[in-house]
C-alpha cells in the first residue's frame, strides 16, 4: 500500500507498507524532504513497524517522535506528516 502527503509549505512524504495480522509491516518512508542524520530514515521505519493498523494519527506521530535519534533535524517533514502518509496508505479512499 502506498500513501503520499505534502504538508503545506513542506516536502513530499511517501510511505509504502503492508498490513500483516492487523499490524504495519515492511514500512518504508521516502520523499524529497531533508533529514539528518541519515540513520533517522530507518529509525522512523522501525518505529512504525508492528504498530496496530488502527492506530490513530496522533499516536503514530508520537511513535515516530520517540523513535528518532536524539540529534535528528527535520526540514520539510514532521512526525505528523509521516502519520498522515501512513493513514493515506491504509485508507486510500479517504486521501
Amino acid at each position: 500500500m502506498h500513501g503520499e502527503y505534502k504538508m503545506p509549505g513542506g516536502k513530499l512524504v511517501v510511505v509504502d507498507l503492508d498490513v500483516r495480522d492487523g499490524r504495519l509491516a515492511h514500512v518504508r518512508l521516502s520523499g524529497d524532504f531533508f533529514l539528518e542524520p541519515d540513520e533517522a530514515l530507518r529509525a522512523i521505519d522501525r518505529a512504525l513497524e508492528g504498530q496496530p493498523a488502527d492506530t490513530g494519527e496522533h499516536a503514530l506521530a508520537e511513535a515516530v517522535r520517540r523513535g528518532l535519534p536524539a540529534d535528528t533535524l527535520m526540514y520539510g517533514i514532521s512526525p505528523e506528516a509521516v502519520a498522515v502518509a501512513v493513514h493515506r496508505a491504509l485508507r486510500p479512499e479517504t486521501a
Binding site: E4, Y5, K6, P8, G9, G10, K11, L12, V14, D16, R28, L29, S30, G31, D32, F33, F34, L35, E36, D38, L41, L73, Y75, G76
Partner: protein, 257 residues
C-alpha cells in the same frame, strides 16, 4: 563562533566535464576535506559529461524514476548525499554548483536562514542579469516567470554542503517521461503541469550558458573573494574510489528502493 564569508579564503574549482557518479563522489569527498580543514572553503562549478537523473538521499528509486524510459534515453540514474528532489540533467541544460563551507558559516542559523544565506549571492547575480529572483522556502530559487532552480543542503561533520541546480534550458517532455511526478507533489503549487513549473535561464537572459556562469562567478568573487584552484590528485583519487565503491553500487542507488 559564527564566521562570515569574508573570514574565509574561497577557492574556485571549475573542471572539464565529468561523469555523474564522479560528481556525486566529489561532493562527499570535498565536503569532508573542508570539514577536516584540509581544503579551504570552495565553490565548485559542475560540467556534465553525460545525461543523468540525480535523486535525493531519501527518494524512492522506483517511485521517482521510470527506469525503462531512462535506459531508452541513455540517462544514468544516480543518488546524491543530500535530501531534496530529483533533478533531470542534460549536458548544457543546467547550471550546477556546490558550495563547501565550514559549519561555522551557518552556525546558529535555522535551515531556512541557512538556505537564504547560501543563495544570496546567486540571487544577486541573477539580479545583475536582469532576472528578479528570490529564495523561496523551503529550497527553491524562484522568479516572476517561474521556478529557476533548487538547492539542497547537508551538514557533515564540521562542514556544510550547499548545492544548487538551475535550469538553463530544458527538454520538459523528456523530463516528464523519465521522472514520475505525482499529483500530490504539485498539490500546493497552484500549477497544472510540472513542465510549467520551470522557466529556464536561457529564455530569461538570452545569454549563452558560459556567459551566465561567468557572470555568476564574477558576482561571487566580488562579494566574497574567490581564488582560482583545481582538484588535488588525492581529492580526485578519493572521489574516484567513492564513485566506484559507493555511488556506483546497487546498495547505494537502491538504498531507498
Amino acid at each position: 563562533m559564527r564566521t562570515h564569508w569574508r573570514d574565509h579564503g574561497w577557492q574556485l574549482i571549475h573542471d572539464a566535464p565529468q561523469p555523474p557518479l564522479l560528481h556525486m563522489a566529489l561532493d562527499e569527498a570535498l565536503t569532508d576535506e573542508v570539514a577536516a580543514g584540509r581544503r579551504p572553503p570552495t565553490l565548485r562549478v559542475w560540467e556534465w559529461a553525460s545525461p543523468a537523473v540525480v535523486i535525493g538521499r531519501f527518494q524512492s528509486l522506483r517511485n521517482e524514476v521510470d527506469g525503462e524510459a531512462a535506459r531508452r534515453h541513455g540517462i544514468e540514474v544516480v543518488r546524491r548525499i543530500s535530501g531534496g528532489g530529483a533533478m533531470f540533467i542534460e549536458p548544457g541544460n543546467t547550471i550546477t554548483y556546490s558550495i563547501y563551507a565550514p559549519a561555522s558559516l551557518v552556525e546558529g542559523l535555522s535551515f531556512q536562514e541557512s538556505y537564504a544565506l547560501m543563495d544570496a549571492w546567486v540571487i544577486a547575480a541573477l539580479g545583475e542579469l536582469g532576472i528578479r529572483a528570490w529564495y523561496q522556502p523551503l529550497n527553491d530559487i524562484a522568479s516572476d516567470a517561474g521556478k529557476i532552480g533548487g538547492a539542497a543542503q547537508t551538514r557533515r561533520g564540521g562542514a556544510v554542503l550547499h548545492h544548487v541546480t538551475m535550469a538553463y534550458d530544458i527538454d520538459a517532455a523528456k523530463m516528464l517521461e523519465v521522472l514520475r511526478i505525482g499529483r500530490e507533489k504539485l498539490s500546493d503549487k497552484g500549477t497544472r503541469s510540472a513542465a510549467k513549473r520551470v522557466d529556464p535561464l536561457r529564455s530569461q537572459t538570452g545569454l549563452p550558458r558560459e556567459a551566465v556562469i561567468a557572470r555568476m562567478v564574477d558576482t561571487f568573487r566580488r562579494r566574497h573573494g574567490l581564488a582560482d584552484d583545481a582538484l588535488r590528485p588525492g581529492e580526485l583519487a578519493r572521489a574516484q574510489a567513492l564513485a566506484q565503491h559507493k555511488f556506483g553500487t546497487a546498495p547505494w542507488l537502491a538504498d531507498v528502493p
